[in-house]
Symmetry: C2
Subunit: 329 residues, 2 copies
């Protein structure tokens, strides 16, 4: 789960002991190339960032985590997975979103921290896929959410679910590729597919924008290769990058290589933009009076209210950062 | 904690496996003479009974318990202690009210069920007294709640707290009896006590009513002795019983022995009375078209909006039940 946490993990600690453990966790996740931000409980508006991350880790006594979560929960399929870890790191407890990643996250963290994951859901439900996770992996919108329950129930009963798509692949066990007459349950990205005898859920892969920030002129060919590598790692087809955005005109060259539109963003636009999901700027950037560029550029290019950060900024060779946002269109 | 759960423990189970484990827990608590009621999640309005019990046990996955608790929590000092136990009885997890009894309850249940209590609060805070618990043990109202934090902080720092009372004793370690010049923090039932150099919290012990139900004529002397034994067990001074209430005139004799007023309650009053905290009648009573009498009689005699069930009905020799309610007066 952690390796696909493209939107990152938020760690929230309350006490000094919790902060120290939170820093240990942050370093370990960072070393695994997982985007991670550590907030102090007293300094963050959690409601503001509730929809911004793929998972939350509350480093505090369970009761504190529960009372906090209670303020923000909406519904099972809307809330992020949340894991609570006590200040001693002894118990790693999924609080909500057990079947939406929290159990997996707790198990992975228990290996990293060499301590106990407290899993309280029926074990036979562990690791079953569900439509929401598949949509997230594909960066897709679910066009007929009323069908979610039907398909998810089929996964729970271990019935065959088929995935039908011309352009997309997805690496999830239990899913059969392609279509055959036996498949009663079908997930497809093909809006034209119709079959009234089947249960069909339609996913619409969203268009993507790539934002780039860099401090100086860098080699475009090398950058292109690195971005290609990152996209492969996250199983994102490079053809989906529709717009490349930056404050530096030189990246027009890069856009050509992606067959994408280039969007030049002004300093003023960067300054004026705000979004609760942005990664807070590092101390170094703050001292220089700068804001991060990659996430803002990606979000501005994605435009409008449906723009959503889907890959939190990641560094490339310490000379650039890239981030990806999605938009419907 | 369980042995002073006079208002009883509510078990709430969601699945069939959970129901079976809930029944095991109910039988074990019952055998320890702890008042306990087991509800099915789908059949109970939890909001209605939230303030009626000394503790809740949710037998279900933690997430279900958390999402349920989230609907009803008010504030740390107002919520009941809640413990969650997964359907396999593997993990016994205090969710809220850790320092208000949930940690203790989880530890005691872990011994009963021979399994793991998952305590995530700082261990040095375990078993510290607090003003709310002392007031509950004394069945008393806190007259100046604004002082609670000061006194509780003193307990947490292991400072000396004195208990000053002409009539009441309380069995809590860390409390020094009586008053000396060294005591900076004082809990008292004496409204006349004044000392501006000290932090003083005033507890007003409430008056009590005793309700009795019985199926047939029973020996009053024997009943009196049994009730005296129960009151001693719960450390309730018998002088505090101000009213004895029943639908049977013969208990007038019992009232005389307690130096208490007797209140005859009519069948009609019993029929018309409702209160969310009443113990649901047994199947046997329902078949006979009857409601329990003891709790209703106690609550009617206590009258008005401040009436509160403080001892859930307990059987005496299988021939009578008694319950206690409190009222300000």
């Amino acid at each position: 789960m952690l390796e696909t946490a493209w939107r990152g993990i938020a760690i929230i600690s309350a006490s000094e002991a919790g902060y120290n453990l939170g820093e240990v966790i942050r370093q370990k996740l960072k070393s695994l190339e997982i985007p991670v931000i550590h907030y102090k409980y007293s300094e963050v508006d959690i409601g503001n960032i509730w929809d911004c991350f793929d998972g939350f880790i509350f480093v505090m006594a369970l009761e504190g985590a529960v009372r906090t979560v209670c303020k923000y929960i909406k519904a099972k399929h809307l809330d992020p997975p949340v894991v609570s870890i006590d200040d001693n790191g002894r118990y790693i407890i999924p609080i909500i979103g057990g079947h939406w990643g929290a159990n997996e996250m707790a198990i992975e963290l228990s290996k990293i921290l060499e301590n106990n994951a407290i899993i309280t859901t029926a074990s036979e439900l562990l690791n079953k896929p569900n439509v929401e996770q598949i949509a997230k992996r594909l960066i897709a919108k679910i066009l007929n959410p009323e069908m979610i329950v039907k398909i998810n129930s089929a996964f729970l009963r271990d019935e065959k679910v088929c995935f039908l798509s011309k352009d997309f692949i997805i690496n999830i066990p239990l899913i059969k590729y392609g279509y055959d007459e036996e498949c009663k349950y079908i997930i497809t990205t093909d809006e034209e597919f119709k079959n009234n005898d089947k249960y069909v859920i339609y996913l619409k892969p969203l268009n993507l924008t790539l934002g780039i920030g860099s401090k100086r002129k860098i080699d475009i060919e090398n950058l292109f290769e690195n971005i290609e590598r990152i996209l492969r790692k996250y199983e994102i087809d490079k053809k989906r990058i529709k717009i490349i955005a930056s404050i530096r005109e030189e990246f027009k060259e890069l856009a050509k290589k992606f067959n994408a539109e280039f969007r030049l963003i002004s300093y003023k636009q960067i300054e004026e933009f705000s979004n609760p999901c942005l990664t807070p700027p590092s101390k170094k950037l703050v001292e220089l009076g700068l804001k991060g560029v990659a996430e803002i550029a990606a979000l501005i290019a994605a435009g409008g209210r449906n723009a959503r950060l889907v890959l939190r900024k990641i560094p490339i060779n310490n000379e650039a950062t890239v981030a990806i946002a999605s938009f419907e269109g």
